[in-house]
């Protein structure tokens, strides 16, 4: 140790060595010293020399520094120095601005960093090594590590990206930097990720997969959105890298509902004065990020779904608020207009919303009008005017409704004289002395006509009042009037611009609109003007105008319906041949797409011009040129015969088209009809189902009636079975069931009563028998009826016996009668028989008339049979009606009424039967009375029987209670015992 220090000390004491020598010595020390402290000192020394002697340190020390990284992992200090040194030699950023010595080598240093980086990354493991240091938490290591990797990416982006991409979890580890609580590391981590993701879709996707959107949006929110500092800016730049031209990530962003999180970015207050430069930058990036998601260059589906969510979450509304707010810096306003443009472009709901936005002026004016005012206002900044034009174009893009509304503001019938309208502003711009306004208004108007034949025709109706006293001139005429003045027009700005603008408008207007062509040709000066323009040999300046004139003439041929005799297709073609020459015409036409400004405009929809002079072509117009160029040349070169043939083909095609259209209409109508019929069928089906149910119910009712009738027929005497069938019937027939149940209960009661009576009768029988047998012994036990002496001879007993016999038979007869009555009652119940003789029966002397009663009952049974027959007929008609009902069920509601009537009838019958039931009950009551009388008689004969009865029932009741009590007592006892 001492020895080593001595050596070093001796060296430093010698003559001042050169930079290279010093670096070499330090490198040796790093390489050979076994002492960590020593190596650390040497690396620190290298670090301090690494700026001044960048070349030397870079070329000599790199290898040793890598070695340190590999071997001295445990010492954060030496690793930190090594990383810093590497960073210094590879970074081109001059951290010391006062380093004037280096000035001459400035350009050389740019290369140095890149070259050293190239050498460093040749060993892929070096990157892997660095990545592993980024996982080191120590600030001294992590921070220089982040800076070094960032620098490597800056110097050799694609190569380093590729290495990181293939190293396991490389990208994921770098993502962890965003989670570092030390702001310096998080912020530098953002810069690293920017470099990492720049231009590499695969890495962009992995970073997004690692929840970058969530993290970045969180940071932006935490930092206060646009009020945040440079961190917000860095986050926004990274977001842009991740999303721009990356459909997969855009889809992920949208699906992750992150668009909603952008809305608060644009919630700027009312006071928009004094925005900081950072806020302006942040907002600018925020707006650009919105545009990335809805760029017209994205796949159509992707853009439209983002547009929809921007409306749904209120982002568009927020942007429109900024649009109409005061005090917003001009460049933010411009970018907001551009952003709104792309959010609404081709998206009907958004366009409709935009049309409804009003400026908070008094009275409120539509935003569109306010914007157009700026477009035709010379004092507004050029970029702002371009933005407004773009916005207007986007509003009208694929928006037939909007186009109609704009054109309508120019039509005599719908014009509103009191308010400034879009149409007025456009006409004003079209004919103002400012060429830029002319151009913008012409293009804007052309967009109101784009692909919309109706509006092209409508616009022909527009008349302009030129000066007092002169008749009004049509808009079309006014345009050609100005054109015909050539470059003699008086304009501020480029006259070519004005003429190009008007020609683009006319070309758009006339294309695919034969009526407009006819209108144009109707003015006899127009064609001569065009041929003169095209055929003249003019300077380069005029070439573009010549080309556009050729295009216009071509359209006049291509979309000519031959309705003007002087200007038929054929005649115009001859004119070209004679006056211009086909070759010449074609050449002039080709000037348009050859123009340098043409290709620029063809690239994207946004009118984006570096200077007002470059404002020549409109994007949509370039599409039209592409479409028409070929067909016009074909049309010019085609012979008359070919033309005719084509005409024929066209006609047949048109005819076919008509047929197809006709059939399409037919199909559409039939579709509607089918839809209607389907609904009808559905309604009828459900009705049918309902009816089916009713029919089934009624059928089953009918069946019941039938069954009952059959039963009745078979079993006149067998009441029990009849009764049970009735019970079944009652169960099936839901409508009558309640009553049936009640009746059944009553019957049951009556039955019980009868049973009791029969029991009593039997007892009495038994009693009589007893009496009979006991007679020899007991003679005066009972007092004899009708004055017969209680005590007496066997004669007396015999008499008594006879009397008893008579009574017994009487009782038997009565019990028979009761049975008969019961049967009768059942029949009456079921068959709805009119009982007329009931009262008579009730009053008759039961004993005497028992037989006749039976006969009577039989008669009545016959009557009831008859009635049943008629009922059966009724039932038949009913069932016929039902089957008719079933057939008619689809179309007829009246059948329902009929069936309801039937139901009512049935109900009526039921009511009748109820009444009969009541009558029967009266009858039964009478019978009861009679029975009571009989009982009394019996009592007179044998009271004990009755008493015995009472006693028995009483005993039973007591027994029950007693046994219950007993049980309870037992339980209690058990409980007590257990206790």
């Amino acid at each position: 140790m001492y020895l080593l220090r001595g050596v070093m000390g001796a060296q430093s004491a010698g003559p001042q060595p050169s930079g290279a020598e010093t670096v070499q010595k330090l490198c040796d020390r790093v390489a050979s010293s076994t002492l960590l402290d020593d190596r650390r000192d040497a690396v620190r020394a290298l670090k301090s020399l690494s700026r001044k002697y960048r070349l030397e340190v870079g070329s000599q020390a790199m290898e040793h520094l890598v070695n340190v990284l590999q071997t001295d992992r445990s010492d954060v200090e030496i690793i930190g120095y090594a990383l810093d040194t590497l960073h210094n030699i590879m970074s081109n950023e001059m951290d010391e601005p006062d380093d004037s010595e280096e000035e001459n080598s400035q350009s050389q240093t740019d290369d140095l960093g890149s070259q050293f980086t190239e050498i460093f990354i040749k060993q892929q493991e070096n990157i892997t090594l660095l990545l592993s240091y980024l996982e080191e938490f120590d600030f001294q290591v992590r921070w220089p590590g982040v800076k070094l990797v960032t620098t490597l990416l800056k110097q050799q982006g694609p190569a380093v990206q590729q290495i990181i991409l293939v190293s396991p979890m490389g990208v994921s580890r770098l993502m962890d930097l965003l989670a570092d609580s030390r702001e310096v590391i998080r912020n530098d981590g953002l810069l690293l990720l920017q470099q990492l993701t720049k231009g590499n879709a695969a890495i962009q996707k992995i970073v997004a997969f690692e929840n970058a959107f969530e993290r970045l949006l969180d940071i932006i929110t935490d930092e206060g959105n646009s009020d945040g500092g440079i961190v917000v800016e860095d986050c926004l730049i990274l977001l842009q890298y991740l999303l721009k031209n990356n459909n997969s990530n855009q889809n992920f962003f949208k699906e992750g509902s992150y668009i909603q999180r952008m809305k608060p970015w644009f919630e700027v207050g009312d006071d928009n004065t004094g925005w900081s430069a950072q806020k302006v930058t942040n907002l600018h990036l925020m707006l650009q990020l919105v545009r990335v998601l809805v760029s017209p260059m994205n796949p159509p589906g992707a853009t439209s779904s983002c547009q929809k969510s921007m409306f749904q979450c209120g982002l568009l509304q927020q942007l429109c608020t900024i649009l109409m707010a005061t005090g917003v810096p001009a460049d933010i306003l411009t970018e907001t207009i551009n952003t709104v443009s792309e959010v609404i472009r081709g998206c009907q709901i958004n366009q409709d919303y935009f049309a409804s936005v009003n400026a908070p002026s008094n009275p409120p004016r539509p935003a569109i009008v306010v914007l157009l005012m700026s477009m035709v206002n010379e004092r507004q900044p050029f970029v702002l005017r371009c933005a407004v034009l773009y916005c207007f174009q986007c509003f009208l893009y694929r928006n037939q409704k909007g186009q109609g509304e704009i054109v309508a503001t120019l039509l005599p019938s719908t014009i509103d004289a009191n308010a400034v309208s879009a149409g007025q502003l456009l006409c004003g711009g079209l004919f103002s002395v400012d060429s830029l306004s002319n151009w913008c208004a012409a293009v804007a108007l052309a967009h109101a006509l784009q692909g919309n034949a109706t509006q092209k025709e409508q616009l022909l109706r527009v008349q302009l009042a030129t000066s007092i006293g002169n008749p009004p001139v049509s808009l079309l005429q006014q345009c050609t009037n100005i054109l015909s003045q050539g470059d003699k027009i008086n304009r501020r700005g480029s006259k070519i611009q004005t003429r190009v603008g008007l020609l683009m408008l006319l070309c758009t207007w006339l294309s695919n609109c034969p009526i407009a062509v006819t209108h144009f040709l109707h003015n006899p000066s127009n064609v001569p003007f065009l041929t003169a323009q095209i055929s003249e040999n003019l300077g380069e300046e005029e070439q573009l105008v010549q080309g556009l004139c050729a295009l216009l003439l071509g359209i006049c041929i291509y979309n000519n319906d031959n309705s003007l005799e002087n200007y038929t297709k054929e005649k115009l073609k001859q004119l070209i041949e004679k006056r211009i020459g086909k070759e010449n015409f074609t050449e002039k036409l080709s000037f348009i797409p050859k123009h340098e400004l043409y290709s620029k405009a063809a690239q994207k929809p946004q009118p984006n011009f570096s200077s007002p002079d470059h404002m020549m072509f409109d994007h949509e117009f370039t599409k039209l040129v592409k479409e028409l160029e070929v067909v016009i040349i074909k049309a010019i070169y085609k012979s008359t015969e070919e033309d005719k043939k084509e005409e024929e083909v066209k006609k047949t095609l048109e005819h076919h088209d008509n047929i197809v259209t006709h059939y399409k209409n037919v199909i559409r109508e039939q579709d509607l009809q089918i839809e209607e019929l389907k609904q009808q069928v559905m309604a009828l089906n459900s009705q049918n189902e309902q009816f089916q149910v009713t029919v089934t119910q009624q059928l089953s009712q009918i069946q019941q009636h039938k069954d009952q009738y059959n039963l009745l027929k078979i079993k006149q005497g067998k009441d029990n079975q009849l009764h049970s069938s009735h019970v079944e019937g009652a169960q099936i027939n839901g409508i009558q069931s309640e009553e049936m149940i009640r009746l059944r209960e009553e019957i049951e009661e009556l039955r019980k009563e009868q049973d009791i009576l029969q029991g009593q009768l039997a007892e009495k029988d038994g009693l009589i028998a007893n009496l009979k047998s006991a007679q020899p012994e007991v003679r005066t036990e009972r007092s004899p009826p009708e004055g017969v002496p209680a005590d007496g001879s066997s004669e007396n007993a015999m008499e008594l016996y006879k009397e008893l016999e008579a009574l017994r038979s009487q009782i038997q007869a009565q019990s028979l009668e009761i049975n008969g009555l019961q049967t009768e009652r059942q029949e009456l119940l079921h068959k709805i028989e009119t009982v007329t003789a009931a009262s008579a029966l009730a009053s008759g002397d039961s004993t005497a008339v028992a037989a006749s009663k039976v006969a009577e009952l039989e008669e009545r049974l016959v009557a009831s049979l008859k009635e049943t027959n008629s009922l059966k007929d009724e039932v038949k008609t009913l069932s016929e009606e039902k089957s008719a009902l079933k057939q008619q069920v689809d179309s007829s509601n009246s059948t329902a009424a009929i069936s309801q009537n039937e139901n009512k009838k049935l109900e009526q019958m039921l009511a009748d039967s109820k009444k009969e039931q009541d009558d029967l009950l009266i009858l039964l009551a009478d019978q009861d009375q009679k029975l009571t009388a009989l009982k009394n008689k019996l009592k007179e004969l044998g009271e004990p029987v009755e008493d015995e009865d009472d006693l028995e029932s009483g005993d039973q009741g007591d027994d029950d209670v007693e046994s219950g009590d007993q049980g309870d007592e037992d339980d209690e006892k058990e409980e007590l015992e257990e206790d």
Binding site: P168, S172, F209, E255
Partner: protein, 211 residues
């Protein structure tokens, strides 16, 4: 759309087995007959319902080609579910399953649910791998198994949904740490509010997004 949970899936397997078609069928209910080689990865998403809960599936369809292997490996770690797909008409795609499985097990978190899928079940006449073989492989390696057809859509819904059910069950059992987003699971905004005290990471999650 508000969701209760968000699951991240990856789809892996040899090139041409029909991974992209499965995803397209699941998200767009379409079939793409031409093989459109996937470059790197492509993203797709759909909402499903399990147990009455809305679950958002975010699916990364990876490229099967060997040259993209290192890229696709980056997606294993953050995924909660993987669909490992082979083609029943190409035995080699079945033979490569072991390699795929090793790769997946090595780079993913251990709880990742893997669903083995034998695709192109509509091509019965050209079948080279028996259904029983697929079942046996799945049983042996503890995977769920299904045969699907991205063309006829047979079992496609089921494959994605059953995988989600398995993950959902694991969550119920407490196997997954739902507060660690690296597991490929995220709790929906309305649930996050109740779990905010648990997650406690700088409060970033509670802000913003309404759905």
């Amino acid at each position: 759309m508000a969701y209760a949970y968000l699951f991240k899936y990856i789809i892996i397997g040899d090139t041409g087995v029909g991974k992209s078609c499965l995803l397209l069928q699941f998200t767009d209910k379409r079939f793409q007959p031409v093989h459109d080689l996937t470059i790197g990865v492509e993203f797709g998403a759909r909402m499903i319902t399990i147990d009455g809960k809305q679950i958002k599936l975010q699916i990364w369809d990876t490229a099967g080609q060997e040259s993209f292997r290192s890229i696709t490996r980056s997606y294993y770690r953050g995924a909660a579910g993987a669909l490992l797909v082979y083609d029943i008409t190409r035995r080699d795609t079945f033979n490569h399953l072991t390699t795929w499985l090793e790769d997946a097990r090595q780079h993913s978190n251990s709880n990742m649910v893997i669903m083995l899928i034998g695709n192109k079940s509509d091509l019965e006449s050209r079948r080279e791998v028996k259904k029983e073989e697929g079942e046996a492989f799945a049983r042996e390696h503890g995977l769920i198994f299904m045969e699907t057809s991205a063309k006829t859509a047979s079992n496609v819904e089921e494959a994605f949904i059953n995988t989600a059910k398995e993950i959902y069950e694991k969550i119920q059992e407490g196997v997954f740490d739902i507060n660690n987003e690296a597991n490929g699971i995220k709790i929906g905004p309305q649930h996050a509010a109740t779990n905010a005290s648990l997650s406690g990471n700088q409060g970033g999650h509670t802000s913003g997004g309404c759905c």
